[in-house]
Amino acid sequence: MAAPRFTTDHEWVRLDGDLATVGISDYAQSQLGDVVYVELPEIGRRVEQGKEIAVVESVKAASDVYAPVSGEVVAVNTALAEDPAKVNADPMGEGWFLQLRLADPAELDGLMDEAAYRRFIEEQA
């Protein structure tokens, strides 16, 4: 599996062939607080890079999650309905949100690698 890439909105994406797994970063979950619910899209939905694809809710806030790349939704993490805490506990692993069939691999080039993302967060603070 490829290394994750990150958006400036704190989503991550990992590529495996033409399947892109998407979630939110550890920084994002720490800012959000306890996740109580994740609203996931329907299988088959097509989305453009940068458009809203999911909503993650904490007690006091609901936050839009934007698609880091364009594609078609082929899978969603149904385990999050029972246990949204996975997003806090393991945001890069078991807390994944959805999988997209990638439309354009070149879109990944515009995203940050882990080191660049770390620097980005530091600048934010």
Binding site: D9, G33, K60, A61, Y66
Partner: protein
Amino acid sequence: MSEWSRALSAPTRAAPPGAAPRAGFGANRGLQIEEKLLFERDAPGRSGVDLPEPPAVEPRLGGLERRRPIGLPGLSEPEVVRHFTRLSQKNYAIDTGIYPLGSCTMKHNPRLNEKLARVPGLSELHPLQPLSTVPGALELIDRLAHWLKTLTGLPAVALSPGAGAHGELCGVMTIRAALEARGDRRKRVLVPESAHGTNPATAAACGYQVDPVPANSRGRVDRRALEQKLGPDVAALMLTNPNTCGLFETEIVEIAAVVHRAGAFFYCDGANFNAIVGRVRPRDLGIDCMHLNLHKTFSTPHGGGGPGSGPVALSAELARHAPLPWLVHGDNGLQLAEHGEGEAAASIGRLKAFHGQMGMFVRALAYMMSHGADGLRQVAEDAVLNANYLRALLETDLTLSYPGPCMHEVLFDDRFLKDTGVSTLDFAKALIDEGYHPMTMYFPLVVHGAMLIEPTETESKATLDEFAATVKALATAARTGDTARFHAAPQLAPRRRLDETAAARKPVLRWRPPSEDEPPGTTT
């Protein structure tokens, strides 16, 4: 992830168990009695109401009689009275102490209002009685309308909306109707970033795209940014004045002019009218449409979350679209126009069944008559004076977000708590232990960790002095490292901090009879 959620983040910390006061044998603590749910106090067959036996008749229910019990508990009157009395003792209230809640205007609720709302000649009127039997009710509504029109300077007022947010909906709907009547379909509504969430929610509900307008460094709407956003596709600007930072929008007249030049309407959220009532007329500022919260400026009680009342003052053009019913001055005196015909043909229709929150009209009118034009002007002055007094007392200990005088509320942010390990939330919870309801927190979103304080005019100087002293003491405690008191707070309230995460993850929204499937002892 979107930007604005971050500003609201205040990661909840599990509070360490505090040092418990000396315990009794049970859960009661002196006057604080632990009270179960009604359903847990049940004894079947009991009732707190004596009713005669229904006479035997041939039922005409078409075989639709209820076959299964409802499952309601049975209690006598003494038990019911005790149950709700004990519950009431767990509540903070205006009658208990100050609510420094910004933009809520938690002023004293006069008891005269309650007495008059209960006069049978008003409370025992059915909304669909023949109009000839209720001339006094129509007169009362007319008098209230007169007060609201005079205070706002606008020629008409729609009285039916049931609350502030409902009034906003009414306002935006009339604006859209007026634009459609002009043959002009516009797509955008401009809303300041500092606005209360109901503003963009209302605009979006009516099909508008919401375009946020930033604030300038002085905390007011950035006029240049606004002018750049204005265009022929803007239906309205929704503004609160004074704004949610407690500041008067100094350029409001110029703003109204540019909005009107663009062919748009100027909507004002009247939540903060308490600052200017009797001293400024919204019409003179160029406002076309403004909702009023009778439960804020006009003292009708908050009742733990309602009922409210949100009448909307309207310009002549917008008045043509006001919701039904209309109170009209006819040849035979006051009449209710209940259907969209004749003059009311362009009305947007009904927003509520019947005529509006009459019970709140009586209370608000009693309040207005008690104060009079002179008293209402004094209300605004004392409200502004009280807020500035707190500003002067607190500005060295807390961080004032915008320098200079405020109106009826003052905005601080959490910069004074930097590096203390104490958040705005912790600070507020500690205030509870000191016997105060916290101020408005994390709103408006334009500053970090906002603390918005509105004392209102019904707080005495002595109360303000005591409140300020407590806040200063807490600020000092935070800065000198006394953080445990904040993280553990509240410790002295009927409940400690509650697990809102669990409540949202696995919502339990009602009592259910214990079944064999459930583990025993799921309730306290």
